[in-house]
């Protein structure tokens, strides 16, 4: 386990761990040091410090006594006397909410096979959290995969049976429907959209396919063969990772085009006054930027590179030629 932010551990963190450690062992009767250390994300040395501290807990009044008795001989932890902290502390509102909101979101996701386990877990967690579960009802997550039911069915079946898929996949940046065979790896939901991640046999690389852009999917009578070098992407780093070889693009946006800064991962966003923005972004492929510029009309302008700005003008002129 890793803490949310990489800040130095505080006395509070340690207190939380100490209060959880005793019930953790009590509920399992005997736990190995290695297992406990890994469950709490600490080293065995830290764990020994924790255990010693708990063992030393002493109340002095009216008569001195030690409420906790434990041993860790031979690398096995046993708690023989836990007194009042044999059960963990209740869930706080944030804790209950984090899990309940996530579980309810999972219950809405396409491709979640067994929904009954979700329903049962939510009910048990709500019961255990009691009043702390209340505020989680004020957070809702809606996921609309946008995928055709049939596409979704084929994709989840391919994942379950580890079979190769044939996809007709729409690439809006190039306004192109592509045909490809894909060995599915997993379904990913990130930034509110669902993707199939798989080994694309055409690109010979791992690719993400947005479910709502899969025009058609059919199961092939072939086992999926994901090569060992295929690595799933770390989606926590964001889906789009600019590389040094990418082209740097600069756009100036009027207030009607500010949405661009919300939709695309911009490296820099600068306010120009009157609601105008200057944004810069990197991309390996400029085709989609040309289409974006046409979409923006007078609400946005490519200012760099000049060559791209020229292409956009040509695109607009050749489109207008149809109307004259």
């Amino acid at each position: 386990m890793t803490p949310a932010a990489s800040r130095p551990p505080t006395a509070t963190d340690r207190l939380q761990r100490l209060l959880a450690l005793v019930p953790y062992v009590v509920s399992r009767k005997v736990v190995s040091m290695t297992e406990a250390a890994s469950a709490f994300g600490v080293t065995e040395e830290q764990l020994v410090d924790d255990l010693n501290m708990l063992w030393c807990v002493e109340l002095r009044s009216p008569d001195p006594y030690c409420p906790i008795d434990l041993s860790y001989e031979g690398g096995e932890i046993v708690v023989s006397e836990a007194e009042s902290i044999e059960r963990p502390l209740r869930l706080g509102v944030d804790e209950a909410s984090a899990l309940l909101v996530a579980l309810r979101m999972l219950a809405e996701l396409p491709g979640m096979g067994d929904r009954s386990a979700l329903g049962r877990t939510i009910a048990k967690l709500e019961a255990a959290a009691g009043t702390a579960a209340g505020p989680s009802a004020q957070v809702a997550v809606q996921v609309d995969s946008g995928a055709e039911r049939e596409v979704l069915g084929q994709v989840t079946q391919a994942l379950a049976e580890a079979r190769r898929l044939h996809l007709s996949y729409y690439v809006p940046g190039r306004d192109e429907a592509t045909e490809r065979d894909v060995d599915p790896m997993r379904l990913v939901m990130v930034e509110g959209r669902s993707y199939l991640e798989g080994w694309c046999r055409r690109a010979e690389a791992v690719r993400l396919f947005r479910l709502d852009r899969i025009l058609a999917a059919s199961l092939l009578d072939l086992a999926a063969q994901v090569p060992p070098e295929a690595r799933p992407r770390d989606v926590d780093q964001g889906l789009f990772r600019p590389s040094a070889s990418d082209i740097q693009i600069e756009l100036e946006l009027a207030s009607g085009g500010r949405w661009v800064a919300e939709y695309y991962p911009c490296e820099e966003v600068e306010e120009l006054g009157d609601g105008r923005l200057r944004v810069s972004l990197r991309t390996p492929d400029t085709q989609w930027v040309r289409r974006l510029a046409l979409r923006l009309g007078e609400d946005g302008r490519v200012t760099a590179p000049a060559e791209l700005a020229g292409q956009v003008r040509e695109d607009a002129q050749s489109a207008l030629a149809h109307y004259s």
Binding site: Q16, G92, A102, L103, A137, Q138
Partner: protein, 323 residues
Amino acid sequence: MSSRRAERLVNLVICLLSTRQYLPASRIRQAVPGYEPDDGSPKADEAFKRMFERDKAELRELGIPLETGANSAQDDEAGYRISRQAYMLPDIRLEPDEAAVLGLAARVWRRAELSGAAEGALLKLRAAGIEAQDTLQPGIEPRLQTGEAAFGALWQAVRDRRAVTFAYRGAGRAEAQQRRLEPWGVVNRNGRWYVVGQDIDRGEQRVFRLGRIEGPVSFTGPAGAVQVPVGADVRAAVRKWDFDSPPQRTGVLRVRAGAGSGLRRHAVRTEPGPEPGWDTIAVPYSDSDWWSGHLASFGADVIVLEPADLREAVIGHLKGVLA
């Protein structure tokens, strides 16, 4: 330092859990090692008091139900205790498939605002004997992001029922405006966060997109002051705000063969020709502004035939590119 403090806090928690009686501060000072002993000096008293206040705040911050009260009407010194009933996580047992989805749920927030809370919850549930799996369900990996800076403060406001104020730049607005809101709930729709509540100045329910909030969100009222109306449906409010009205009009387009798959998917009619290499399709649409930009983005591959106002809008759009 941190280790001595942690030790004192554990002592304090156990001491207060072990008592049925309310313990006055003076008794706690005697019972719990780590507090400044009473040597009769005001300096030592002062040091104890400060330390004890800080520790109480810390326990409450952690959600430990610290109770204050007197043991009898004659007793005028307030005391403290922790009710075991209120402290203990009730019994919870999960089947293996339930523990698996719990593990998956805890990872949903990874690196986002509530990831620490999710980890904390998992820690307590593990302590209750649950073996939350980290690796079942290899086929699915859902994530919630909270890239919007305003999320943390607005979640707290919703949780604690407090009114807030923030600068908001609505769509197409040149300037941000200060808004005052009684928040009812936060909603994530297709990856974006929204807050729904009563706009205090406008006296109406409003929806705000978190990504359009500029600068910090400040609390303006006390906790517990916001009343969420019975039957308020924050999900429905955001869906309504976000959702285009159903298609009402039909556009007739000439689309180059092989192009415009994204348009063809929604076509109600597709005919080849009349010129070779082109198709004529009919597509329903509702929002003319958005639609004309969308059609313009296809450049020379899509020509709008009718209706006339849509055709004019696309032409205007393309001219705008050249302006």
